[in-house]
């Protein structure tokens, strides 16, 4: 019995050994690009990935796309795997900013490069080498645009916010998520600089999802009815959950003249198809477009340039040139790496322009 | 009388890898009789029954029911054909009522397809009345005593219009009264022309209830005999294949000083043992008699620290032990072989060696406080050898041994702790005659070595044959202590039923 075990084990090992010997690296010259994507369960990320796949096919690129399923450790493992398989150039939506430097170092060690989107890489990550790029829209800006839209609204209807006091119900994304932190900071800072008193009547996470947002809102509406004048969500999914809650709780004035039939304006971010539909029905007040196609096209063109020419320094990707002036959000706030930053614009989406996207 | 047999099993052969479990076994059972099936554990009784119920597929042989060849897919199929089995272990759903248990899987339905509880309860009531079972159909079955639950299982078998009922050790957890009631029911079955196959180790019962007895040994059928032409000794010698005139071994022990003393021990539960005092001496076997429900096990568990006590004192070697726990008991040289071997005895998925040494690991630590596996194993082997435990290897899982051998492993476990006082709760329950005798021998040797044994037993002959003194409990109270000379069935019975 013991002997049989031994025989089988040895046989198995010999076999694997043989295969291991026989294995040779693929030597053809197709362009290989690795894509490390943080979580395909999110609409934005999925759109980004779909566009990447499309571009890869059009350009004859062998694209290996890995989904980290929201786990930093898994993303690092996937990077290791792809590097072992000979991938050198990457398009990355990191799971977390803090891990980008480590990823860049590993890629630099094999002489490759990467373009980061959606979640910002750290300044240090871009400093690892000249071929590490930002191809993204700074999250702060999304918050700033939300603040701008809020300002426009209350400038038009000052009686709805007496004394420039905003009493806000605020739905956060997953706590600790970089977008959650930056969008909130951009939003608050801009409003305060515009002279508003920002008062969060209630603020909590709904984990980016509509159903949790609706649940939260139902509770808040029961507790804080009449004590707030604005509802802001960090993405469209949660914003739509809030819209549903307002409707079922009867907080509707049926007067679309201010842009919404709800008693209070509701704001989101992402400009998803559902959100645009809701705007068309005068429910959701406004949103901000985070351009998944723009980001992924820019990142892809950078990676493609690296893979074909060895570097992408100074190229124009998807019509965007490297930034020249620093902005307030990292990593584009450091003059040393500013030439590696490709800023894909956010776009405020309001009544005036939403039809362009439909 | 009907000339066809209710059940015929002819030339049944079943081989397992390496073992011929059944060798051309033939068993014929007449309707309206009680047919005892006897044999030591491992003789092939269970295998034969498993072939009957389709749990095993026999290699060769024919099974006929009322003269017609038949083979059952499984026990449910058998039940529908009027062949049912009452197991040693209960197989009911404790949280459901008696009626629901009886009609499990074939509940009567009303017009719209819902369970017709009224009909179910009515039918159950008439069935129970017919068998003189005094239970209400609506009662939760788990609230009944074990014996009542068992009786209900018999009622269930009857409710399927059974023509053959197999009873596997039905009395192992019953008191004498309950056994009498069971026999009454069996007699009624006999009157209704049912064939009863009665598997038991208890000689007395066979002679009371059975008409015929078939004896098996080593996978072979030795023969079928009329009970009237049988004697105790003859039956035993047929079973073990040798003359066994001695049922209890001779042992000479010197009864010495008091080892364990219990004073006014009372349970916090008012219905359990109250105000019990006794002492056990070196070299003595103290028997504890009583009916089921006399709280004997509870008392023993309290002494060993498994159960709480309200008041009372326990002295070991003259020192009072407060807040007894099993660990303290072991440290003070007490060991306990529990009644429920499967529930609180064996570690089913551990091997023999570990099962033996588990209570004495403390003695086998090296300087680094790591276990000395080699010595542990050697000692386990030594004890099990001395007790003649039959096992393929020491690495065999204990769950794969027969009941008797499991018991020997557990005795080995306690001997390894070098106890002065050994509490043995039903030490020979469910064990075949040969192994029983060996366990008696071990007990004899222990007291000859100057140890004390407290033996709880429901078998009168064992109690009388082995004990120096017998303390009898009734409803949690001590009703008397009998010396060897006064130890008779009648005296014990009188004390055991004092408050009834």
């Amino acid at each position: 019995m013991k002997k049989t075990v031994a025989i089988l084990l040895v046989l198995a090992l010999v076999c694997t050994g043989l295969f291991a010997q026989g294995g040779k690296e693929a030597t053809d010259d197709t362009v290989k690009i690795g894509a490390l994507i943080r979580n395909l369960n999110e609409q934005f990320v999925k759109d980004y990935a779909d566009n990447l796949r499309k571009l890869a096919e059009e350009n004859g690129v062998e694209l290996n796309l890995q989904d980290a399923q929201g786990d930093v450790a898994r993303q690092l493992d996937q990077l290791n795997t792809l590097i072992t398989q000979g991938y050198k150039y990457f398009v990355i939506i990191p799971q977390d900013t803090s891990v980008t430097e480590q990823m860049a170092q590993q890629i630099q060690a094999v002489g490759g490069g990467a373009a980061f989107s959606n979640i910002q890489p750290s300044v240090d990550a871009l400093k690892v080498g000249k071929d590490f790029y930002l191809a993204s829209s700074p999250e702060l800006v999304a918050g700033q645009y939300q603040a701008q839209i809020v300002d426009d609204y209350f400038t038009q209807y000052p009686e709805k916010a007496p004394g420039k006091v905003l009493n806000i119900l605020y739905l956060q994304g997953q706590l600790g998520h970089p977008a959650q932190i930056s969008r909130e900071a951009g939003f608050i800072d801009t409003l305060e600089s515009l002279g508003y008193t920002v008062n969060f009547v209630a603020k909590d996470t709904a984990d980016w999802t509509p159903d949790k947002a609706q649940e939260k809102m139902d509770t808040w509406l029961a507790a804080h009815r009449g004590k707030f004048n604005l509802v802001v969500a960090q993405n469209d999914g949660m914003a739509l959950g809030a819209v549903e809650s307002l409707i079922t709780n009867g907080l509707v004035d049926n007067d679309p003249s201010d842009g919404t039939i709800l008693s209070f304006p509701v704001l989101g971010i992402d400009a998803t198809a559902d959100a645009l539909n809701s705007m068309d029905q005068d429910k959701l007040y406004a949103t901000v477009l985070q351009d998944s196609v723009g980001q992924s096209s820019t990142a892809f063109e950078l990676a493609y340039a690296m893979a074909t020419k060895g570097t992408a320094q100074g190229v124009t990707a998807w019509g965007i040139e490297p930034a020249k002036e620093v902005i307030s959000e990292a990593p584009a706030n450091d003059p040393a790496v500013i030439s590696q930053c490709y800023l894909v614009p956010f776009k405020p989406i309001t009544k005036e322009n939403y039809k362009d996207l439909m | 009388m009907d000339t066809t047999f209710a059940l015929e099993m002819e030339g049944i052969t079943k081989t397992f890898p390496g073992v011929k479990a059944l060798d051309e076994v033939t068993l014929r059972v007449k309707p309206g009789t009680v047919h005892a099936l006897m044999g030591e554990n491992g003789a092939g009784k269970s295998t034969l029954m498993k072939c009957l119920f389709g749990i095993y597929q026999e290699d060769r042989g024919i099974i006929k029911l009322k003269g017609k060849e038949h083979r059952f897919k499984d026990s449910h199929d058998a039940l529908n054909q009027g062949v049912s089995m009452i197991h040693q272990e209960l197989s009911n759903v404790p949280e459901r009522s008696v009626a629901e248990n009886l009609y499990l899987g074939r509940e009567p339905l009303n017009k719209i397809g819902l369970i017709d509880h009224k009909k179910m309860n009515d039918e159950t009531r008439s069935l129970l009345e017919n068998l003189e079972i005094n239970v209400k159909p609506e009662v939760r079955i788990g609230s009944l005593s074990i014996s009542m639950q068992q009786t209900c299982e018999i009622a269930k078998a009857v409710s399927y219009n059974a023509s053959v009922v197999v009873m596997d050790e039905p009395t192992s957890s019953l008191t004498d009264n309950e056994v009498q009631h069971l026999f009454k029911i069996i007699n009624r079955l006999r009157e209704q022309n049912v064939a009863v196959i009665y598997i038991s180790h208890k000689m007395e019962e066979i002679f009371t209830i059975a008409d015929e007895v078939s004896v098996m040994r080593d996978g072979q059928m030795i023969g079928t005999y009329d009970v009237t032409e049988m004697t105790n000794e003859k039956l035993i010698s047929l079973m073990v294949g040798r003359d066994a005139t001695l049922r209890f071994p001779e042992f000479k022990s010197k009864v010495g000083e008091v080892l364990l003393k219990v004073e006014n021990l009372s349970s916090p539960n008012p219905r359990s043992f109250q105000d019990v005092s006794f002492e056990v001496h070196r070299g003595e076997i103290l028997g504890i008699g009583g009916l089921v429900g006399a709280q004997r096990t509870e008392l023993m568990e309290a002494i060993f620290g498994v159960r709480a006590i309200r008041e009372g004192k326990i002295y070991v070697d003259g020192d009072e032990i407060l807040n007894m726990t099993p660990r303290k008991a072991i440290e003070h040289g007490i060991g306990m072989i529990t009644e429920d071997r499967r529930g609180s005895g064996i570690f089913p998925l551990m091997d023999i060696s570990n099962n033996t040494s588990i209570a004495s690991l403390k003695e086998y630590l090296n300087k680094l406080h790591l276990l000395k596996h080699k010595e542990m194993k050697e000692e386990s082997v030594r004890y099990n050898k001395a007790l003649r435990t039959k096992t393929p290897t020491m690495e065999t899982l204990i769950q794969n041994l027969s009941g008797g051998n499991q018991q020997k492993v557990i005795i080995s476990r306690w001997l390894m702790t070098l106890p002065d006082v050994l509490i043995m709760d039903e030490p020979t329950r469910g064990i075949d005659v040969g192994a029983k005798y060996e366990i008696y021998q071990i007990m004899g040797q222990l007291v000859e070595q100057g140890k004390a044994i407290i033996m709880v037993s429901s078998e009168m002959p064992e109690l009388i044959g082995m004990s120096h003194r017998v303390m009898v409990l009734c409803s949690g109270k001590c009703t008397g202590v009998l010396d060897k000379s006064e130890c008779t069935q009648e005296n014990i019975m009188r004390l055991a039923t004092k408050f009834m």
Binding site: M1, T4, V5, I7, L8, L9, A12, C15, T16, L18, F19, A20, G22, G23, N64, L65, Q66, D67, Q69, G70, D71, V72, A73, R74, L76, D77, Q78, N80, T81, T84, Q85, Q95, D96, T97, S98, V99, L175, G176, P178, T205 | K50, I55, P326, A329, I330, T338, G343, S344, G345, I346, F347, P348, L349, M350, N354, I358, A359, L365, L371, Q399
Partner: protein
């Protein structure tokens, strides 16, 4: 004749050593599918690193399952301990550090995280052993408590910008062997000693196999049960430290869902949910089997949705054979 016997024995081996057979089979399959690429040292090294932190969780919950318990709090306890470790290892000049402007010796984050894990273990153990709460419920509660504490402690922010010395704990290597692999080997060795060569380890098996019999055999069931959760807690604390060090950060998403991965891995590794059965070797093989599935599929570029599916089936199949093996022989 020889061949026939070999064939028959192989069948026996397959049922007896399900865990190993699954592992070797997957290894073979993967080497064929990838033309041997997946089995070069670089790949194996990646695999070992990827599974290292999970190994700690698996060893902990493996011991717990042997005592017939379960632990659902692993993921969030590791998350909490990782955050605690990270908070004491941040660069002092990092403005959003939990303890901004302060720097601590390297030992502090390690001790703090391991202590936090140990405390949680004691808490779980006390509730289960002395409070008599079902392990499922007790750890379900402490899971939520751990998550709450983590969010409160970090104010839901990422604890990042860790100093290089701390990161080197996990990211360094001794020659070609990464530190993490060495730590796993040490932990597995210690747990092996505990389970196989100490009294308490034997008691764990006894308690899981038959708690009542264990009590009668003089085993202090309550104390031993509490200790098994405590030991597991220490392992989770270590896992948290290593994870923070490896990732260079901790946030509220760190290690989420690790309990299910760890429970699945040890179950595939032959640790029976019925208690009383399980070996360290099995736990480790279980972890690496699950790792191999993850790794192999991402190597082959299989869609992540299918990875979940395949993992599910592997768990069910492995446990099915295991249950058959230990089914009581009638």
């Amino acid at each position: 004749m020889e061949m026939k016997k070999l064939l028959k024995d192989s069948k026996k081996v397959a049922t007896q050593y399900t865990t190993w057979v699954t592992f070797v089979g997957l290894l073979l399959l993967l080497s064929i599918l990838t033309n041997g690429q997946a089995l070069r040292w670089g790949s194996i090294r990646n695999l070992l690193i990827a599974e290292s932190v999970r190994s700690f969780a698996a060893l902990g919950v493996g011991m717990i399952i042997i005592t017939k318990g379960i632990d659902l709090s692993i993921g969030y306890v590791v998350c909490l301990t990782a955050s605690v470790a990270a908070s004491f290892a941040q660069n002092p000049d990092y403005s959003s550090a939990v303890y901004a402007g302060q720097s601590f010796p390297l030992i502090i984050p390690i001790v703090a995280a391991v202590a936090a894990g140990g405390l949680f273990g004691l808490f779980n153990g006390y509730l289960i052993a002395y409070g008599k709460l079902p392990p499922f419920i007790a750890t379900l509660g402490s899971m939520s408590i751990a998550k709450g504490l983590q969010l409160i402690y970090t104010k839901a922010a990422v604890v990042g910008s860790l100093n290089q010395n701390f990161k080197n704990i996990s990211q360094g290597s001794v020659g070609p062997v990464p530190n993490l692999i060495i730590y796993v080997a040490i932990a597995a060795f210690i747990v092996w000693i505990l389970l196989k060569h100490t009294r308490q380890g034997t008691h764990f098996y006894a308690i899981g196999g038959n708690a009542q019999a264990a009590r009668v055999s003089g085993i202090n069931v309550e104390r031993d049960l509490m200790m098994v959760y405590f030991y597991a807690g220490l392992l989770y604390g270590t896992a948290g430290t290593l994870l923070a060090s490896r990732l260079g950060l901790a946030n509220s998403l760190t290690a989420n869902g690790m309990e299910l991965d760890a429970i699945a891995a040890v179950t595939v590794g032959g640790v029976s949910q019925n208690g009383g059965v399980g070996k360290v070797s099995g736990m480790m093989v279980g972890v690496f089997t699950m790792g191999l599935i993850n790794y192999g599929m991402s190597f082959l570029g299989v869609d992540s949705y299918y990875q979940q599916l395949v993992k599910g089936f592997i768990i069910i199949i492995a446990v099915y054979f295991d249950m058959k093996k230990y089914a009581r022989r009638a």
